[in-house]
């Protein structure tokens, strides 16, 4: 297990919000123009800092949703946490033209590198899809040959971020499969009742362990614990299963 060194230090800088876009009733994408962005790998995150008029400030980390074509804006997609301090500001208050301090990119482990030849299995719980979406977008832009499968667990169809884009990408790209798991309510005509991710889901819609896929699991702690335990029980090498868990607000 080895990471990749990130050179230099991470400096706070002011980004400008150039657009916002609703993804679901409680998640919003914020498009950021960052004057001096060094580029990022899919899966990395950034730190964002808000400051109140009296100088009080709060920092949080957010996964980057966009890929990096070498220039242009950077997108984060934020899920509103009802008791959160920063996320409701980002989902409900921020408008184009606002400036936000941030620094990044951060993280050298939970990243997909296009030079890795293995097939890729992405397992998302709720807003854990965000860093995985960056990987899917990077794959699409590079027309990478590694086949990708995404298993995406959401409570209801309305809670799925990027649903239209994922549909379009699956239609246009034979190397990408997406399977949804609905835990509370399924779409009309869905062949199974709501359920949580289980052995059958990962067995049927993941890659066989023999393919030695690179696996990325992201979501709330309980979801990640469950999915990672099942993957190891199915025979996946634990060192090939990378996880990112989130909690707090």
């Amino acid at each position: 297990m080895a990471g990749t060194a990130l050179p230099g230090r991470l400096i706070w800088q002011a980004a400008t919000v150039s657009a916002v876009r609703a993804e679901t009733p409680s998640a919003r994408t914020i498009v950021l123009d960052i004057p001096d962005w060094p580029g990022h790998l899919p899966g990395q995150h950034l730190d964002l800092r808000l400051t109140a008029e009296d100088g009080y400030s709060a920092q949080r980390s957010y996964s980057i949703a966009s890929d990096w074509p070498g220039a242009g804006p950077v997108e984060i997609t934020v899920q509103r946490l009802e008791d959160g301090e920063v996320s409701p500001y980002l989902t409900d208050v921020v408008e184009p033209g606002d400036r936000i301090e941030l620094r990044g990119p951060i993280g050298g482990w939970f990243v997909w590198r296009s030079a890795q030849p293995a097939p890729v299995l992405l397992v998302a719980g709720g807003s854990g899809v965000v860093p995985l979406m960056s990987m899917i977008r990077e794959r699409g832009r590079l027309r990478a040959r590694q086949p990708f499968r995404l298993i995406y667990s959401v409570r209801t169809p309305e809670d799925a971020s990027f649903a239209g884009e994922l549909r379009r990408r699956v239609r246009d790209d034979p190397g990408l499969d997406v399977h949804f798991v609905y835990t509370r309510k399924t779409p009309d005509g869905w062949p199974a009742p709501p359920k949580r991710i289980d052995v059958a889901t990962l067995n049927s819609h993941g890659w066989p362990p023999d393919f030695a896929p690179d696996v990325f699991v992201c979501g709330p702690t309980s979801f990640v614990e469950t999915a990672a335990d099942i993957l190891v029980a199915l025979g996946h090498d634990p060192s090939k299963v990378r996880t990112e868990r989130f909690g707090g607000g």
């Binding site: 080895a2 990130l6 230090r9 991470l10 400051t51 482990w109 990672a228 190891v232 868990r245 707090g248």
Partner: protein, 199 residues
Amino acid sequence: MGIISRGFGGRRRDSAPDLPPGQYLTQDFPVLSAGPTPRIPLDRWSFTITTETGRKHTWDWAEFTALPAEEITRDIHCVTKWSKLGTTWKGVSLDTLFEDVETAADYVMAHSKGGYTTNVPLQDLLDGQAWIAYEFDGEPLDPEHGGPARLLIPHLYFWKSAKWVNGLEMMHEDEPGFWEAAGYHTYGDPWLEQRYQGD
């Protein structure tokens, strides 16, 4: 002071006394791990200190839990911004474990089941500053929080408190561990906000 965020008031300031810069208070116990949670049977657990000369000091679970243990109450601070105050642990002081260890090396690499590593100066492990903890809140330490036993170094960011720790290796030179090689700070003092390389 940074750029003012239009319309941002902040909610948590009243409930967050004495936190290191950039941290917020949580009542939960979030989990940060790079991979699946290993399950380590106690009859296969061991802990080894390896000196720079290759001399090994090893304890199995029965030997380890027979050592004098301490009750520890400390605040903990995760680099992902949460802090949790007054957490209570039971564990064996590193002072106890190093009692019979002869070493002239100044740095330590902690090793964990699954290949995770983290580097710490030896002086940060001694003098009542660090433990191998095996209970949290009066219960055996849960696997997702690092059980059966984890390193506990509360005065550094919590990634230094390696979960599933199974050994310490003495080193003459400071070398980066797992998160440190991935861009995190080599020392990690929360009060100096040493989150990332260069902080």
